[in-house]
Every structure is written in C-alpha cells, then in structure tokens.
C-alpha cells in the first residue's frame, strides 16, 4: 500500500460522500419530494471515486446516468444538487438533470440519454484535444448493458484507428435493468472486446478504489500518448435499476451475497489496520452529511426556471439571422 493514512482517509471520505449523497436522494424520493428517474450507484462508489481521482487536471470525464457518487466528488455539491432538483442555478440551468448533466468548467461531458451515443462523441472530443495538442485524455464511462450498442463498436473502432486519447471505462454492475450480464453476452470479461479493436483491455475489481484509481491512471497516461484502451471494473448494483423498480427479476440470494462486498467496509478495514480510529471515521460522516445537507438546502431554496427561461430560443439556436425557425 503506497498511500498514507491521510490519503486513504481522503478516499474514504469520498466514498462516504458518494453513498450519503445518494442516500439523501433516496430519502427525498421516498418522501415523494423529487421529480425524475433516479438511478442510484449505491455499492458502486469505489469504481466511480477511483475514476474521479485518476483524472488529471486537463482530462475530461463522460459519466453515466448512474454516476452520482462520482459527480458528488467531482462537482460543486450545491450546483450539482441544484441541477438535480431542476433549479435554474444548476449546472445546466435545470434543463439537464443528471440525465444530461455537463459542465465545460468542470471538464464534464454530457451524460447521454441514448445509451452508447456518447461513446463516439467522447472519441470525437478526445480527437479534438489531440489536434489541439492538449496533454489531455477523456475517460468515457459506460455500463455493461451499453456495450451491446452499435455505437460502442463504431466508437471504439474509430478511437483505435485514430489513436484517440481516451479510456473506455466499463462499470460492470452485473445488470442492465432486469437483464443480467450473462444474458447480454457470452463472454466473461467485457474488456475482451478490446481485442476486437487492437487495443489493450483489462478487467479489475471495481470495489477496490485504489485498484481502480491506479489502473485508470496508467491507462490515462497511455491514452495521452494516443493509446486508447478499455478498463472494465466489476462491481454490483445494489438498488433496483431506478428508484421504484421492485426488482422481482433478481435472485435475492445473489443480491445479498454481492452486497457483502461493500467497498466502504473494505476500505474501513484497511484504515483500521493503519490505525484509524472510530472517532476519525465518525468525524468524516458528520462533515460529509453537513456538506450534503447544505447542498440540498441550497438547492431547495433555489428558483425553478421561469416560463421565459424555459422558452428561451437562444438556448435552442446559437445563430439566428433571419427566416422562421419555428
């Protein structure tokens, strides 16, 4: 272990922040206070926090619909939450929700509503970075289910041909809604697909935040030199596909078994081994919760978009020089 206790506590805080952030969402959902479809990444925090920590200063990230734990550590918590609650001071003026969130400033490329379509878009973005001689790469996250999309094939192949600075991070949580990965494909490891494009591919333990971070760091270093690759992180979706999904289709035993491997507990164990105290961890909990509560309070007080903001055609068309666009 090359990390100091303090560094590890830092990762721990992020994992906890990811978990608590979604638990907060969950509370709101259960109270019926939120609009939208909530795809929670509870249980997958290590994969996401690992990615977020591997990103270099100039690198870009394409998240998925299930990336709140990652976003809660990458973005400004208040502005993120404002977007989540559809407020006009959110990252995208409340128009995107976490379905489509993006931010230029934070180097966050849009979540795509069409699974797979974001993959070749990310490749195009990565290629542009290379053309502009930026020392930067893109991490494009996608789920196991998404790998079946034609756009993924086309995008990965184009990335390989163009030596695009990109890492495809497959967050394999075992399920695409009700479809287990074993019924989405006959292969064991989705990173095998890399062979089809002449790229390197590797499958790792997605519940180990350090492994994820370090693997991604290496992959990113290669990507910045024009060597794209696939990293598959295996983890598990603890919740239903979205909040409200009763999840009948899932074997409760498999489910319980998988949930035993809790990325937070894992790191806790290591931390105790390094001499961390209950008090230290408890302090983190308090700090994190406070931040989250503040963010939600801020967002709740924030204004919803007005009619005029909603019907602002300058946000639809950037150039309007005559003729009738409507």
């Amino acid at each position: 272990m090359n990390y100091s206790k303090n560094e590890l506590l830092g990762f721990y805080e992020q994992l906890v922040q990811g978990r608590r952030y979604e638990e907060k969402i969950l509370g709101y959902v259960n109270e019926g206070k939120l609009q939208g479809f909530f795809h929670l990444g509870i249980g997958q925090e290590a994969a996401q926090v690992g990615v977020v920590n591997a990103l270099g200063h100039n690198d870009y990230l394409v998240p998925t619909h299930r990336f709140h734990p990652g976003l809660a550590n990458k973005l400004d918590l208040k502005t993120l939450t404002a977007e989540l609650l559809g407020r006009s001071n959110g990252y995208n003026k409340g128009k995107a929700f976490t379905f489509h969130i993006s931010s230029k400033k934070e180097r966050l490329l849009p979540v795509n509503g069409m699974l797979g379509a974001g993959i070749p878009e990310a490749v195009g973005y990565a290629w542009a970075l290379k053309m502009d001689e930026k020392d930067a790469a893109v991490v494009c996250v996608l789920g196991d289910g998404t790998t079946s999309e034609g756009n993924v094939h086309e995008g990965m192949n184009i990335a390989a041909i163009l030596d695009a600075p990109i890492v495809f991070f497959i967050e394999n949580n075992g399920w695409a809604i009700s479809n287990p990965v074993s019924e989405q494909t006959k292969i064991e490891d989705l990173s095998t697909r890399a062979i089809a494009y002449g790229m390197p591919g590797v499958t790792i333990d997605g519940n180990d935040v350090i492994t994820v971070k370090e693997t991604l760091e290496k992959a990113l270093a290669e990507a910045r030199k024009g060597r794209p690759s696939i990293v598959e992180a295996k983890t598990y979706r603890w919740r239903g596909h979205f909040e409200g999904d009763p999840g009948f289709y899932r074997d409760p035993q498999e489910h319980e078994e998988a949930m035993k491997d809790d990325c937070i507990k894992r790191l806790e164990k290591i931390l105790y081994g390094q001499g961390a105290t209950d008090k230290e961890l408890a302090e983190i909990e308090v700090r994190v919760q406070q931040r989250i509560d503040e963010a939600f309070a801020y967002a709740e007080k924030s204004p919803l978009p007005t009619v005029e903001e909603t019907l602002d055609y300058d946000q639809v068309y950037a150039t309007n020089l005559g003729g009738d666009l409507l």
């Binding site: 559809g86 489509h100 509503g113 797979g116 009700s178 479809n179 989405q184």
Partner: protein, 323 residues
Amino acid sequence: MREIAFSQAIMEAQMEEMQRDSNVFLIGEDVAKMGSAFGQSAGLYEKFGSKRVFNMPVAESGYVNFGVGAAMAGKRPIVEMQFADFIVLAFDAVGNQGPKQRYMSGGELSVPMTVRAPQGAGFGAAAQHSQCVEAWFMNFPGLKIVMPSTPYDGKGLLKTAIRDNDTVLFLEHKALLSIKGEVPEEEYTIPLGEGKIVRDGTDVTIIALQAQVYQALEAAEELAKEGISAEIIDPRTLIPLDKKLIGESVKKTGRVVIVHEAPKRGGFGSEISAVIAENFFDSLRAPIIRIGAANIPLPFGMPEQYCLPNKNSIVQSVKELLK
C-alpha cells in the same frame, strides 16, 4: 363493462394474439421477467415462456432488424422499444427495412412486424425520454402508424396491427398507460384507418390524438360554456388516415384546429392540414390552426409544461378562430 388500465389492454392484446397464433412472439428490453417498463407485458413471459418472450441486449437497431428477419421467415414479431425515443437508433429498421422489403422483393417477402413504442411527455424526463416520434416516420412508403388514445382503442388496434401483414408502428402514450377505461371481456378488433368522433359539435373541428384528445375534451367543455360547439375527431391511425371522416366534419364546421404534442413545425398536424387544404378547401371558412409543442428539446421536470399544448392553448386558439 369492466375497466382496465391502458397497459393491461396492451398486455391482453398481445396475450390473445400470442394465444391465437404461435408465430407471434415478443422481444425488447426487459419484456421478460420485468414485463416491460410500464407493465405492458406483465405475465407474458410466465405464460408463454422464454421462446416466445425474451429480452434483447441494449441494441435497438439489432433487434428490430432481427424482427424484420424473423418476419420474413414467417414469424410475427412484436418488438418493443422501451421508450419511443430510442427508435432513433432503429430508424432504418422501422422505416427503411421493414416497410420496403415487400416492394423491393417484387411482392415476395413481407414483414408483418409490429413495433410498439411508448412515447410522450408527462414525466419531466427531459429531451431524450419524452418525445412523440410519429412525424419522423410519415414519409416512409409501406409503413403504417397507429396512435390510440383509450384502452379500448389500444387493445382493438393492437390486435389488428399484429394481424396486419405489413410493418406497423404502434405508439402508446406513456402518460395514458395508467388511465383506465372500459374494455369488454369479449374479443374485438378495430380496423386501421377508421377515425372516431369523440365529441359531436358544429362550430369547429378539433383533431387530436393520444393525450391531446383529453385536453381537447376539457377545452370543448369550457368552450361549450361560452356557447361554442366543438367537434373532436381522433383519427386513431395516421397511416392509413381516415380522410373521409375528417372531411365530413370539416364540411359541417368549416373550421379546424389540429393539436399534437410533438413540436408544431413538421408535426403530423402539417400533413392533416395539407390534406384538408387540398381536399376540403371549399368547406373551409377560416385558417387551419395547428397547435403543437414549442420548438424546444423538452426540458427536465415541471417546466416541460411550459412547452406543451394543453386545454388552455386549445381554448384560446378556437376562440381566436371564431372571432
């Protein structure tokens, strides 16, 4: 008569047709154990097993084309899009493959495939999960398009669609899937191409489909209070289109308002307007008004309402028309 939800009507239509014809099968994302995202296939997997109802990977183009191939081989696939929006990825399959094979083969092959797709707004689900998609397909020869507004129509039309020997795009409206309506226990079908007078009237014809039928009904009630008598027509299918029924109404009222949920520019309202302006011009006493969504990718959440047509926009348009 018993009342059932729209989603159940869809389920029953599929069930009955699967029982009647062993060549009918159902594929899509999460149609098996989950019974579809809005319950439209609840119980079918249990009833018919994994050879007749099975999940596909997240690969819309692939599995609609799979349906095209199976249909050419004599099967009668029902292919579900989880959200109609995703049909953008199967646009070739739905518009350019299925409907053309018959003519392209000199009449030898046909593609008796039904593509079911839940569409429309109402959930604040933003720009890529809320669209009405019918207009994208209006220009394809060989295709048929069904858009029911009630559980009764949904069941009857879906059964017909499944029996039809051509490719049919069957659009169910998400916001209507939970409404209930009378549906007889006995078997019935409704032919494609027969519109319906939802409400009789004499001053203006309101043509609406799916969720907008209900907005039109509310508008008509309000207009009635001011002494304006609105007739409401639900064409139910866009291809084939019941031009005759529309014409009769226009002859009576001389005034037309067409309402749809998709953006106004390029929506099906333009086709219906053009049909009227071409065939029933002499009956027209006023401009043909179209009402559609704002020309905006729908935003997340509550503000989607600001973009959509509703009772009020219909009332206002009708009043202006009659001024």
